[in-house]
């Protein structure tokens, strides 16, 4: 089989697998499984990006999502009264609203896909996508990305500051001490 055919097979395998995994997120009965099916879906998208020559973005997607989905699973288990997330529980709720939201979102995205005019700028297949991405991030679009990054960081710090002030059982800092730095 030629290289192009192999890439095609891999594309349909991982693209299709990504869709199936995304569907399984809602069919499974545990939060940890749901989180990791979502990770599988993202990993499939990451592989598709690697196939599209965006290796850096694809690998970074897998890197970020593996950590994020794990943290998400831990947080979901923590907030639920379900000791380890292994007890069966339904992953879907508010069926009516969910259906409406799903249909509206699909119709909107499909409309964009059909109506929008996508730019037709074939990239040089032998180019260096990572280097180009780096120049873009630290060149023309630096202000844009830095603004987004700093905003996200401020949001994180702000939400922690708001959330950690008062808990369900009074002041969050009540009785807590900074962790010791001693090694012994």
């Amino acid at each position: 089989m030629s290289r192009g055919a192999l890439v095609d097979v891999a594309f349909w395998l991982f693209g299709g697998g990504s869709v199936v995994a995304a569907w399984l997120v809602f069919r499974t009965d545990s939060m940890v499984r749901a989180a990791y099916w979502l990770l599988a879906s993202f990993a499939g998208v990451g592989v598709v990006m690697v196939l599209l020559n965006a290796r850096f973005l694809g690998l970074v997607l897998v890197l970020m999502m593996a950590g994020e989905m794990t943290i998400m699973a831990v947080f979901m288990v923590m907030f639920m009264m379900n000791p380890a997330g292994l007890n069966p529980m339904t992953m879907v709720h508010q069926h009516r609203q969910a259906k409406i939201a799903g249909v509206v979102a699909f119709a909107g995205l499909a409309l964009v896909g059909v109506v929008a005019e996508f730019p037709d700028r074939p990239a040089d297949p032998d180019g260096e996508p990572t280097a180009e991405l780096g120049r873009e991030l630290l060149g023309d679009s630096m202000l844009l990305f830095e603004t987004a990054g700093v905003t996200l960081l401020a949001t994180m710090i702000g939400s922690i500051a708001i959330a950690s002030k008062r808990g369900r059982y009074g002041d969050a800092e009540d009785g807590s001490a900074p962790p010791p730095l001693a090694l012994s």
């Binding site: 990451g46 690998l59 890197l63 593996a66 794990t70 943290i71 699973a73 292994l86 730095l181």
Partner: protein
């Protein structure tokens, strides 16, 4: 030979991981006896690991009440696959790499993130308290060592002006990174010990949890888990040898032999640390990692960046 075609690639990665895991077992046995100041029965050290592996393969498989069997089986495969992926990006001689992709360091970063998923799943899917605690411990450990690990690897990529492991190896032609960036290798080894949850950082599978994530595993599954863990340790040593010790470069000896010697040296350090150092309490490690190691790794990045300019 074209190492990126399927069969040679499989042979190369399989040989590195297989021989490496065996070397870890042999070094581990030797280090245990040396630490205990006992005589070395050479036959036992060489044959012992194989005997243990055969015994594990023949032992009956145990199970728990309502485990997640698929995820349980997936966990060691994830670790082994990620270790193989990491080894594939490393060159073992000029043009002797399975996939010296131009983002090799990023691939290694993705690999170490997925290892966290594997270890947590291994603890979680047993549906048993001690393995679950082990899984949570690994997440806390991983979130602490990942930043220093990523930062020292970025620092090593700066003089090479490339994220490819091959280019990083070649950038050390005059001076190895272990000398050029003295903070790099020690921080990398600490983080790598955590990545393979080995020795002092073995909280996930620790004896205080009756084996942690592997407390409920026996038979072939236990053998697979033990092997996969050693594969990860080997991948850490291979990557460390390439990124900090000049990889395949060296005088007189052939390139792959240099790579093997450097990998074995790092494996010996990692394994000996497991016998010489006491296990670190996790909450202490987390604080030290965030308060000491991450700033040190940032200093490494800034100094290396300034020198590379």
């Amino acid at each position: 030979m074209n190492w990126s075609s399927p069969l040679p690639a499989l042979l190369l990665v399989g040989a590195v991981l297989g021989l490496g895991a065996y070397a870890v077992a042999v070094l581990d046995g030797a280090a245990a006896l040396v630490t205990a100041r006992q005589r070395l029965p050479l036959g036992d050290i060489v044959i012992g690991p194989l005997r243990q592996a055969a015994l594990a393969a023949r032992t009956r498989r145990s199970t728990t009440e309502r485990p997640d069997l698929q995820a349980w089986a997936l966990a060691p495969a994830l670790l082994a696959g990620m270790a193989a992926g990491a080894v594939a990006t490393v060159p073992f001689g000029p043009d002797t790499a399975v996939a010296d992709v131009d983002d090799g360091i990023v691939a290694f970063g993705a690999v170490m993130a997925v290892v966290m998923v594997g270890v947590y799943l291994h603890g979680w899917s047993a549906n048993s308290p001690l393995p679950l605690v082990g899984g949570y411990r690994f997440i806390a450990l991983a979130l602490s060592y990942e930043m220093p690990l990523a930062l020292v690897l970025i620092a090593a990529a700066l003089p090479a002006e490339s994220l490819s492991v091959g280019a990083i190896v070649e950038s050390q032609y005059d001076l190895w990174n272990v000398v050029r960036q003295p903070l790099g290798l020690p921080l990398y080894l600490v983080a790598g010990t955590g990545l393979a949850f080995w020795g002092p950082l073995n909280g996930a599978d620790g004896a205080d949890l009756a084996g942690g994530t592997s407390a409920e595993v026996s038979g072939p599954a236990r053998l697979m888990w033990a092997l996969s863990r050693r594969f990860v340790l080997v991948a850490v040593a291979v990557m460390g040898a390439a990124v900090f010790l000049g990889g395949w470069q060296g005088p007189w000896l052939p390139a792959p032999l240099w790579m093997a010697l450097k990998t074995l040296a790092l494996l010996a350090v990692l394994v000996a640390a497991g016998h010489r150092l006491a296990r670190v309490r996790l909450e202490r490690f987390v604080v030290v990692a965030w308060v000491v190691f991450i700033p040190l790794a940032l200093v490494d990045v800034f100094v290396s960046g300034a020198l590379a300019l």
